[in-house]
Symmetry: C2
């Protein structure tokens, strides 16, 4: 039977930094098609309840994964007759960022099997064209790091400059020169020094920072 209308879905690449690497969330499919394969969380547009596709994406993350993310943006739209056996389909791909201190909340969700996979090696046999989708989301994420306050969305409320640099490095997949990085931050309006607040550990106390209240990128 030929479908006259395309299947419209929102799929989300939810990234975090977990156990020292950049991770993306995959869920095990509980329904056909592609039953049992791992896929990005996603859901079908509901024109009656979603005011736009951002709504669809946020509804999926909230209902299926149990998180409300601060940052969510589009990557691209994947479409065609061949990518889903149910017929002509169109997936608007989003990427979202979860601060690493919120990872346990997701791990505790029991409604479906989820895993935080290495974003650079999420597995070779994902459902549909989702391996391509993960790659596209990663490329977008990496392209934003260079000039952006975007990694702040991956950090806890208070963080050190070393943590910020390490997070940027994890996304880029290569190390950054510390002095160049620190120099660039001097003119970065999106982070604010927390006067008199330090992280105490094995090293000498490290100055703590927070994101500016109205930071954007």
């Amino acid at each position: 039977m030929k479908k006259l209308f395309p299947l419209v879905t929102a799929d989300i690449a939810l990234f975090t930094v977990h156990e020292g690497s950049l991770r993306v969330l995959l869920g095990k499919r509980a329904n056909a098609p592609e039953l049992g394969k791992w896929a990005l969380p996603g859901g079908v547009l509901d024109p009656a309840s979603d005011s736009d596709l951002d709504d669809t994406a946020r509804r999926v993350l909230s209902s299926k994964i149990g998180v409300d993310v601060a940052f969510l943006d589009q990557v691209a739209t994947f479409s065609g007759a061949a990518r889903d056996p149910r017929g002509w389909s169109l997936s608007v791909l989003y990427y979202a960022l979860l601060p690493r201190d919120q990872v346990p909340a997701v791990a505790g969700n029991k409604t479906e099997a989820v895993e935080w996979r290495d974003a650079f090696a999420p597995g070779s046999r994902l459902a549909f064209d989702h391996a391509k989708l993960v790659e596209a989301a990663l490329t977008t994420l990496r392209s934003k790091v260079v000039s952006a306050a975007l990694p702040l969305h991956l950090l806890p409320e208070r963080f050190t400059l070393t943590e910020l640099q390490r997070t940027c490095e994890l996304i880029l997949g290569h190390s950054l020169d510390k002095s160049v990085f620190r120099r660039r931050l001097k003119s970065e309006p999106s982070i604010v020094q927390l006067e008199g607040e330090f992280l105490y550990g094995a090293q000498r106390p490290a100055q703590l920072y927070r994101a500016a209240a109205d930071f954007r990128f």
Copy 2:
């Protein structure tokens, strides 16, 4: 009456450099809604004939505008219940680049009224949310210039470095330092010097170049 499926369209911001400025093509709407207003060229997805949405976009440009473009890519997808009076709609926005020596071909199309508007000031009362779409396409185009061979798609087959620099400047909206620009081009694999071919004019002869056969960005 409530629509159960969204209206899916591809809209295209077709850019060129014409009479010294960066232009975008608008067409005057010949049908309701928004009859008589100016809009980006666009068309409804036909799942029976389009293998993906890139096909839809190319079909629109070919059938409505009469051009087959070499470069076409997605900007973003605009969606929602409120943007089109016909109901829940989803527009996948593309941008495409037309070499400036192909502009006359478009101007000669008589099937609908078209105009090459200044891309930075396309008019204040465009149809639907198309003013926002033009702005989004322009932002994407500008972001690509910095590290890209993309402006080559706007040039004729043979061009001078001055023309290439001027084209980059038109997209960015500000001037570039000539010596920095030339230095960067030294390591740019996407352009090839045409041995012994020069442009003769009021100034001293200028070396001509072409795009490398397999250039990409």
